[in-house]
Point group: C2
Chain length 234, copies 2
DNA sequence: GTTTTTAGTGTAGTATTGACACAATTTAAA
DNA sequence: TTTAAATTGTGTCAATACTACACTAAAAAC
């Protein structure tokens, strides 16, 4: 069966931008390629879409191979399709955006892929158009974290409001007023007080919250103002 | 040169969702296929990505073929990649989202492609997964028109505030308070009073505005609240 | 002229936000 | 044991933005 004899068949790649948060900095999971081409250079984790594989399944497969995690937050970000983007052969790359709880990942799998967590500031030069992909992903993170409750995906299941604030301060690289932030967050009704306190604090222990899973699902697509208005015009 | 001998080469299609506004309803430009496969059925305008063509150029080419327009608002929306989405052959489709000023298009080109403007409510069953693509595009329009000044792309260069309001009411299918809408719009500083009045009105003639091109560019990525808050939680 | 329809502006009450101060908790050092 | 330092939790007030309204002006039809 060949309905489209004149059309070109093209390689379809999948590349993954994987963000994590260590309590202080936003980090990217990048691999130092130990295979050709471009062996020894830094790149995003990726692979090719298989002939009979759904696109979304391909992304999950590649993310699982690197992190050992299956239930992580993934969004399709954008497809990069400049004709000359891969000098080896014409390749269209579908880029996925993933947020993971950094402590959950399988460090053996990461090590075997020659991958490392690298802060955004310290990221090396990347192959092909991967730097553009990362830039686009950072924009996406900044844009969406202000409107939708995705920040939680980067934190442990139980987290404190100060932790969440540090996360947002890292994303936007600005200081946020503690009191206004706390008021805004609690008013969303997304947070449930677990009754527990954080114990890795050297001073006053903060309350541990968890997400209200039901509300999180139903309200995910609402718009929120997680950030001060002044930030949103940036 | 074949660096990736084991990977599969796949057809890459481009499909375009083209929105227009006739002053009353949001419309979609759909084609009734006069070619195989699925001849006689309704679908989105599309085509295959050429071997040495940039992805974005492919979208512009396909949009130009159908509408005769080159400078239109286009965004990449999402790539659809279910393994079985095209029964003819495995095809990954990159979907583009376009907004056009409905009076500007080349009606001869549209006619020759067997295409028609169809209101959202009246749209027929579409081939493959095109209905999912349309649903996704409508979501995207609703989401983005509330936050960014994209509605203007559907109106003539000179437009009135009541026209703009009818557009937003059509997008969200809700009535909007005239006075609050006008105040909010003018406060963005995006509108320039042309000094002219609309003359296709049977009663009081409305002021014609145009976009402040400079402000439009620099402020495009700011968040705005074009819609009442009550709407945004839907 | 009078009526009908649409456009343009104003205002008062309410809710949200931003900028701030103060009290409470915990550990470590004095 | 007390004190200091750091961090968390809560409260208040003024400014701003939003909502729900009412009124005036312009244009054409009768």
């Amino acid at each position: 069966m060949n309905n489209y004899p004149q059309a070109s068949r093209i390689l379809v790649a999948i590349d993954c931008i994987i963000f994590g948060f260590d309590g202080k900095d936003i980090k990217l999971l990048l691999i130092k390629r130990n295979f050709e081409p471009e062996k020894g250079k830094w790149s995003l984790m990726g692979g090719f879409l298989n002939a009979e594989e759904d696109l979304a399944d391909g992304a999950v497969r590649i993310l699982y191979n690197l992190t050992g995690l299956k239930d992580i937050y993934v969004e399709q970000l954008e497809t990069f399709g400049k004709a000359d983007r891969d000098p080896g052969e014409r390749t269209v790359s579908v880029v996925f955006f993933a947020l993971i709880k950094i402590d959950d990942h399988d460090s053996e799998a990461v090590k075997s892929h020659n991958a490392s967590w690298i802060t955004l500031d310290a990221r090396p030069k990347l192959i092909f158009d991967h730097e553009k992909m990362v830039t686009r992903a950072i924009e996406h993170l900044k844009y969406n974290a202000a409107l939708h409750p995705i920040g939680f995906e980067l934190l442990p299941e139980r987290f404190t409001i100060p932790q969440l604030q540090k996360l947002y301060e890292a994303i936007y690289n600005i200081p946020i007023d503690r009191r206004n932030f706390s008021r805004k967050l609690l008013s969303t009704g997304l947070l449930i007080d677990t009754g527990q306190k954080n114990n890795n604090s050297a001073t006053k222990k903060a309350t541990l919250y968890k997400l209200d899973a039901e509300r999180y699902k139903t309200k995910f697509h609402s718009f929120w103002n997680f950030m001060p208005d002044s930030m949103k015009s940036q």
